[in-house]
Symmetry: C2
Subunit: 333 residues, 2 copies
DNA sequence: CTGAAAGCGCTTACAG
DNA sequence: CTGAAAGCGCTTACAG
């Protein structure tokens, strides 16, 4: 009666073959220890014979947990998140959790769309790098899972934020550059919330330390290598040339170095350059790039730890995790 | 009787509120035209009032199609796939399909694990950049959805491959460099199947054209900027210096240019450099990088077109789509 | 154009 | 340690 011909074998097929109930097979799959070892052996064989692959859609529906986590990032080119996502994907996958990836772009609309999609799949958690508008906040309100904002540390996160203070980064960079003797910084700011926070922090602290007015140039978010050409050209047209360019990413910093060198300027002697993010290339560039290191992998691990705790029914102890940052002085500034 | 208190509203809640059957609400959601407009209006209101978000797990189980597609890539740092994935994620998301992302690393085991996970979620398609071992092939055999290999064009793809001939890329690069008058190439090959194919193609053609022996240096896959330092150092120790370095990626090429310049060599006059992939930076570097352009977005679109056709019940007309490639001559070689 | 009802393939109290 | 059975929240022939 059981024609397992051209369809996927089901739990029933396995159960029948192993002469046990579906409940027992299900238990074996989810918690092998609770079934007698002899029974388990028969089930294992039946699974191998049928080539059974559990239907996680059905499992998720029945158990009310999908074992999926949504990860929302703006673009794939914004490589600053790479370590975070890489770590996330690896650790989750090895725990049997699936990563649903969403590219939010820069619009609020896309973000909300993706959150809706994630909620529709009943994901256990949403991890998002996207700044939150009021609309999004309303959505999150209705999300029964865990919502984690990463790479950010807002005043009052809806549930949990894992990140660092972008403003403090800016402040530290200002102090660092002043202490190194730089006097005429040019700040290149990407047109995004976080980059702006860093710039604000920088400008604030720079003034507080008695520095003069600081010119600012803008680029699209994310700061890319390719922006350097225009930035450098605009810089050259400035009345007074800066002695250091503060960039929104290591790739932009790299671009500025390349432009400067092509123009015959020695870096850092004639023009210093500061990056952000501590990308792989920062340490490999010539000159090596002075930058701010963010432990993206740690952000991922903290987020995952929170998810596990939440899934186990535990309450969150905090609503913010500050992973901090580290200024890395290298050759370029 | 209907306490919609602390649980997610369901189709039943919406149906009750709109005084229709669940079937009608379901139809309205999936194909609005088939319900009377007055009815549709009531349903729309009920949805808004309840804040209903369809459970896609249940929907997928009932309809036997998950509206999910798995995308498998080795690493996130292997930015050569960025355009493909970006396009894929955007186009699929706007069609209501979710992207499940899998990082396969370089081991066969990880890949198989992820394919299993994808099958468990009953994804409609698996799109993979991973080279396939025999194990994987067996798995694919049992996959009822569409399996698409991308960035590759094997002899006999299990179902569909969208890519280009890596060997031909190598051959074309050889012809191009010979025609430009280069005589002593150094080939830097990444330790991966596709990069090797390109190198083989290069070496074959180079010999066929009467070129001499070609030294080869190896790097880990993927070819990165950071590999340049070691490669350049090893190159300098060679008895005869090459006149052109053929790199496995634009980032590696960029690194070699930086190293060369730091050592006081003019590029391309004293050392030419050739990249691969036409990354964004290739056109922005100084000197701009001569490379091979692959239309990653097109690979994504062809794959998606195939998925749509397959989902609509159509048969695939071909088992290979060759998107070709384009050599872009710039300044570096 | 709409409804009643079966079914998708699991999980999980509840009993024993 | 195991089984019978209800239920998760949808979709979709089948009728009308």
């Amino acid at each position: 009666m059981n024609e397992i011909a051209n369809r996927n074998p089901t739990l029933d097929d396995v159960a029948a073959l192993a002469s046990v109930s579906t409940a027992t097979v299900s238990r074996y799959l989810n918690n092998p220890k609770v079934v007698a070892s002899a029974t388990g052996e028969r089930i294992r064989e039946a699974i191998a014979q049928t080539g059974y692959i559990p239907n996680l859609l059905a499992g998720g529906l029945a158990s009310q947990k999908s074992k999926m986590v949504a990860v929302l990032i703006p673009h794939l080119t914004d490589s600053i998140f790479n370590d975070t996502i890489q770590t996330m994907a690896e650790e989750l996958a090895s725990a049997g959790t699936t990563v649903m990836m969403g590219l939010t772009g820069v619009t609020q609309e896309q973000t909300d769309q993706l959150i809706l999609a994630a909620m529709g799949r009943r994901v256990d958690a949403i991890i998002s790098t996207a700044p939150m508008g009021p609309q999004t906040r309303d959505l999150i309100e209705r999300f029964p899972g865990l919502f984690i904002q990463i790479w950010e540390l807002p005043e009052d996160p809806p549930q949990l934020a894992v990140g660092f203070s972008h403003r403090d980064v800016g402040r530290d960079v200002a102090r660092f550059l002043q202490s190194r003797g730089y006097r005429r910084p040019l700040v290149v700011t990407a047109d995004g919330l976080r980059a702006r926070m860093r710039s604000e922090g920088f400008l604030e602290e720079w003034q507080a330390l008695g520095g003069g007015n600081v010119p600012e140039l803008w680029v699209e978010v994310p700061s890319r290598f390719g922006h350097a050409r225009r930035i450098f050209a605009e810089m050259r047209r400035m009345a007074e040339l800066p002695d250091v360019v503060v960039c929104g990413s290591d790739h932009l910093a790299q671009g500025v170095i390349v432009e400067a060198q092509a123009a015959g300027l020695r870096v850092p002697d004639q023009l210093a350059v500061m990056g952000f993010g501590n990308a792989q290339i920062a340490g490999d560039m010539r000159p090596t790039i002075t930058t701010v290191d963010i432990d993206g992998a740690r952000i991922a691990r903290e987020a995952i730890a929170a998810i596990r705790q939440h899934s186990a029914g535990g309450k969150l102890l905090v609503n913010k995790v500050d992973v901090g940052f580290r200024l890395i002085a290298r050759e370029s500034a």
